[in-house]
């Protein structure tokens, strides 16, 4: 297990193809150095964000999960980010019941132009999760994939 003090968290980040994934591209093109702790997954929309993905990431060893999408009103699919936001609020309540600290799971909005903002948010979140310490959920016997029926 990681020694306390030099703990480096791993955070899984979910991005929207149209805004935050492009913001990450933009951060790259601008050569902005940000914390390497976040590993991104591209979805078509934050609306695709199944709460089970968050549970899956935490149970596979992630110390935090970052969900990103277009600013409210700017959704590529009209208003699906609003649905993501509603879903996220419910998820947060459930996670609090599980004892997951508030700072571990975050939702932020980042437009395609906001590479700098995304990088700053990532840095801020990594610092916050570092302060919280490792989650160690992987050790708990827990298989969230059972919650999602397999698809043909």
């Amino acid at each position: 297990m990681t020694e306390p003090g030099n703990f480096e968290p791993i955070i899984v980040g979910f991005t929207c193809n149209w805004c935050s994934y492009r913001a990450a591209d933009g951060a790259g093109m601008a050569r902005i150095k940000y914390a390497p702790n976040v590993r991104l997954i591209r979805l078509m929309c934050s609306g695709r964000m199944d709460p089970v993905f968050v549970l899956k990431a935490l149970s596979e060893g992630a110390d935090g999960v970052l969900v990103t999408g277009c600013h409210p009103g700017d959704c590529h699919y009209v208003e699906q980010n609003i649905k993501a936001m509603r879903r996220f609020d419910l998820l947060k309540k459930t996670l609090a019941e599980f004892g997951i600290e508030d700072g571990r799971v975050k939702l932020i909005w980042a437009s395609a132009a906001e590479g700098i903002l995304l990088a700053e948010e990532i840095d801020r979140m990594v610092a916050e999760v570092k302060a919280l310490g490792p989650l160690n959920w992987k050790e708990i016997a827990w298989a969230p994939e059972e919650l999602v029926p397999a698809q043909p």
């Binding site: 929309c45 695709r48 596979e60």
Partner: protein, 665 residues
């Protein structure tokens, strides 16, 4: 699972290899389950790189391909095509972004290599769950919508209309022409703006393939590339254009004068029934109902009395039009920076401080002073004139960017002032930027004409004088960065070369059409260098200043470029869309209808006879919101299935943060 995965790690020259140990990542990837071959190469996107993949598909019988290189937004299509050429379904490919997400944003080489491994592991685990897919083919409606009737929109409209396709050109002002119609001369050739623009405006007005909708605005857009439905509000002109001959007797007889804040930028008055300028296209006037005496007081109707054809229609209502188009070009232009925001320059307070557009109108023979360059007293010619560059541009307090046209415009002003008044002209500049064809030659010419160039940002313009020779003058204060001293220069007139800004409603326009704005507010192009007129939304193109500040030649070039892109799509008649769609498994759907209200495209309907929900594949846009919401897991999202994403999560977390050389997961 018995997939045969090929992994290819790109060096991208030193872009990736300079930070990520690509050989190590490649060696390590070879040890991952299902991986048959793993290689690294200097430039995967080069033909040799692509041929390497094709050869391996043939010789090693690869069934899946992963390329770790740049962002999929750059080269996903390239490698999908390589797979396709080798007979592998292109959707059995996965791209991992090792450049934008690793090497360009990470300083520590070991940690970067470790992150690269995690992303590659996720890609490999994801790709084994990929399904072969076929693109969705849709027809392209050959009609085109162009929003904005400035020079960029006019150019695009004529190009497309001349190719034989129909264009709806929507302009919110009463006439097309845009800012170019307001200018006097154009740089660097000094030819008359109206003389080169009016014939084009006339062609638009006469063209059988152009439906010109002025005094109109787009309210709503539905659909996707090839198949947009556009709702346009055609505001009531209060003039029946079937009857109106454009004789303009109404304008002459109208007793109500209103300050024209649009075309004449507040320097002259127009009537309550008007066309903005004599060469307006279309020739039909509009009634300004906010200022018309009849609408305010219920009496007058002078226009109606004198109209020889009975064209005035006070009861005319706005019309809502619905048109179907396949492609859209947004050419909505710019707003001029308002120099009132820089109070130290005195604009709005000191009468002889004017904006660049006010000077354009003043020097224009058809403008408010009939082309005479004079002070606000209405008769005196200035003896000294200051032209201030970069007003609201290259200034962190206002706009960081260079407005690109102001240097050349200021040089043009210097020439016109000298030509018309013989006055001494000062140009106050930070840097001179004259990069386009024949531009620097124009600068040299102005130097030879004797215009004085003073380098430094003007600190303030004041009428508070200190010496007798400043008496009655405006004093321009600045730090001259070449002479290294503070200077006070007395002048009679100050012209502020105001910068260009995004339209104040550019964000709302972007929302209507699904196009994002940059942090500065300009509409974002698909790629800043390689795809400047396309946007992230297929079928929506941008041209002219809507995309960023530019001069007339560049706007015309973009208008033509956007038109060419649209004509290319029309010529193909149909287009392939990513087959990313949601489908309902009728076997497992419980008919709970939770998904029914989630779709903003109304793609989901409940089938009463079978008691299950169904998704219309033509309407579905593939966001995946219903997939995530289905409590029975009965909806699957093509290419973003639960299996694919779950596998990707596992892969991402299979590699620790700290470097563990040579250890397979």
């Amino acid at each position: 699972m018995s997939e045969r995965v090929g992994v290819y790690i790109c060096h991208c020259g030193s872009n990736i290899a300079g930070v990520v140990d690509v050989e190590e990542v490649s060696r390590w990837a070879a040890t991952l389950p299902d991986v048959t071959v793993s290689r690294d190469y200097k430039f995967m996107c080069a033909s040799l790189g692509q041929e390497m993949i094709e050869k391996d598909i043939h010789e090693l019988g690869l069934t899946r391909v992963v390329v770790g290189a740049c962002s999929p937004h750059l080269h996903e299509a390239t490698f999908r095509n390589a797979c396709k050429r080798a007979g592998l379904n292109p959707f059995l490919f996965e791209m991992v972004s090792l450049r934008e997400q690793v090497s360009w944003v990470t300083a520590d080489k070991k940690i970067a290599t470790q992150k690269a491994k995690a992303l590659v592991a996720a890609g490999v685990r994801r790709v084994v769950h990929h399904q072969p897919l076929e693109p969705i083919v849709v027809d392209i409606d050959p009609n085109v919508l162009i929003v904005g009737g400035g020079i960029a929109g006019i150019q695009a409209a004529l190009e497309i209309a001349d190719s034989g396709h129909h264009v709806y050109l929507v302009e919110r002002e009463p006439s097309i022409g845009g800012h170019m119609a307001q200018f006097d001369k154009t740089f660097p050739t000094l030819d008359c703006s109206a003389c080169i623009l009016t014939p084009k405006m006339f062609s638009v007005g006469q063209h059988p393939n152009i439906t010109l909708l002025t005094w109109s605005e787009v309210e709503k857009v539905d659909g996707f590339i090839g198949n947009f439905t556009v709702q346009i509000r055609k505001r009531a002109r209060k003039v029946d254009t079937e009857l109106c001959t454009g004789c303009m007797v109404c304008q002459e007889k109208c007793p109500k004068k209103v300050v024209d804040t649009v075309f004449e930028v507040g320097m002259a008055k127009r009537k309550a029934i008007y066309t903005p300028f004599p060469q307006a296209v279309p020739k039909y006037p509009v009634i300004d109902v906010q200022n018309c005496t009849y609408y305010l007081k219920g009496t007058c109707k002078a226009c109606e009395k004198f109209c020889p054809t009975g064209a005035i229609d006070f009861d005319q209502q706005d019309e809502i039009l619905k048109v179907r188009v396949g492609n859209v070009i947004l050419a909505t232009g710019y707003d001029l920076f308002d120099p009132r925001r820089i109070p130290e320059y005195g604009y709005g307070r000191l009468p002889n401080v004017i904006t660049s557009m006010e000077f354009e109108r003043m020097t224009n023979v058809s403008g408010p002073t009939a082309g005479k360059v004079i002070l606000k007293d209405g008769s005196t010619q200035p003896e000294t004139v200051a032209i201030v560059h970069c007003v609201g541009s290259r200034d962190k307090n206002y706009n960081n960017y260079c407005s690109s046209i102001c240097c050349m415009q200021s040089l043009k002003f210097a020439h016109l002032v000298k030509e018309k008044t013989g006055a001494k002209v000062y140009n106050f500049y930070i840097d001179m930027r004259t990069p386009a064809k024949s531009y620097d030659e124009f600068y040299q010419r102005m130097l030879a004409e004797g215009t004085v160039f003073v380098r430094g940002r003007v600190a303030d313009v004041t009428e508070v004088t200190r010496t007798p020779d400043e008496e009655g003058k405006l004093v321009v204060q600045l730090y001259d960065t070449l002479e290294g001293r503070q200077r006070r220069i007395p002048v009679d007139m100050v012209i502020l070369s105001a910068g260009l800004e995004p339209r104040r409603d550019a964000a709302e326009l972007g929302k209507i059409f699904g196009v994002a704005c940059s942090s500065d507010g300009w509409l974002i192009e698909r790629h800043p260098k390689l795809d400047p007129v396309a946007t992230m939304t297929d079928g929506i193109f941008i041209a002219g200043c809507a995309q960023g500040p530019k001069d007339i030649p560049a706007s015309v070039a973009q208008g033509a470029a956007a038109a060419a892109r649209v004509m290319g799509l029309i010529g193909r008649e149909r287009v392939s869309l990513e087959p990313i769609r949601a489908t309902v498994n009728a076997e497992t759907c419980s008919g709970c209808r939770i998904c029914n209200n989630l779709c903003p495209f109304n793609a989901i309907t409940f089938l009463e006879d079978t008691g299950v929900s169904d998704i219309n594949q033509a309407l579905c846009q593939g966001c995946g919101t219903c997939v995530a919401a289905c409590p029975a897991g009965a909806i699957s999202g093509t290419h973003f299935s639960n299996e694919q994403i779950m596998a990707q999560i596992e892969g991402l977390l299979a590699v620790d943060f700290q470097a563990m050389e040579g250890q397979p997961v």
